[in-house]
Symmetry: C2
Subunit: 164 residues, 2 copies
């Protein structure tokens, strides 16, 4: 299996902030393409917030044409109310992958941390630090959502590297 040039979109879904990170595999190296966060306002109605997340993600997919979407498994929400909100944001994110025929990958938080930091119990700060180093970014990602999205993308590519 050759993954040369594979473009991966990592996403960290959330109703307020959805982090995204787009990287490519080029030979043995990662190439950083784009990252950031989609923000919605509590002043918007809930359906319109979901629509914004979905639309902006579709814009990124159209622009970068990633073949893969990589997400952290979210089975760890604090409570049912939070889980239902998070689930709805996640649903419109996953739908974007399906609508664009993308491969879809999920990893446990532990697996992502192991892959990026080498420690399954790494802190968010450690993940952000290593993401910055691995991608040779000029500065740290502005938010943990963005760093976590990039980490999910890196995890996918590392995972596949092991299979070569």
């Amino acid at each position: 299996m050759s993954s040369s040039g594979t473009i991966v979109l990592g996403v960290d879904p959330g109703i307020n902030h959805t982090g995204f990170g787009i990287i490519a595999q080029e030979g043995n190296r990662f190439r950083y393409l784009d990252s950031g966060a989609i923000h919605t306002s509590t002043r918007q109605k809930f359906p319109q917030r979901l629509e914004k997340i979905h639309q902006e993600l579709e814009g990124l997919i159209t622009r970068w044409q990633p073949e893969v979407m990589s997400l952290e498994e979210s089975i760890y929400a604090q409570n049912v109310r939070v889980a239902l909100k998070l689930g709805q944001a996640r649903g419109v994110v996953v739908l974007a992958a399906a609508r664009h025929g993308m491969e879809f990958s999920e990893f446990s938080p532990k697996k992502i941390k192991l892959s990026v930091v080498g420690n399954g119990a790494a802190s968010k700060e450690q993940v952000r630090f290593m993401v910055t180093r691995l991608l040779d970014l000029p500065q740290e990602p502005a938010s943990f959502d963005e760093a976590d999205a990039l980490a999910a993308a890196i995890c996918y590519l590392n995972q596949n590297k092991m299979q070569w």
Copy 2:
């Protein structure tokens, strides 16, 4: 405010079965238009299941042109894992409302039961029975998902009737 002719799409989202019910207000009466359930298989991948729910719902919206989507508030999932799955199904349902510029209404389970049965603690069987009567259906809806979706639609129209 005149709601004469208003077409309402009630939905009971779920990853396995998403019930739907479409009714119209005509003067003092309800007119039944369509109802049923969207089923997905556990043999399908999760993103494809979400896509099927979203697509079939969009098909119904295109066909019937409802102005309103009415849902039961789902803040009552048994646990976080269930809530995350349900949330994702719900997210792609709510997104369909936003993408088609529909008004979006939510009601508590208690309010829907009160509106349809006159008893906020009514059983699912009672809701199904009253839905069948109120809409003058030749037989009971095949599933509780379908009956609950119709009940959400009835609740919206009853609610608005009170404001006339």
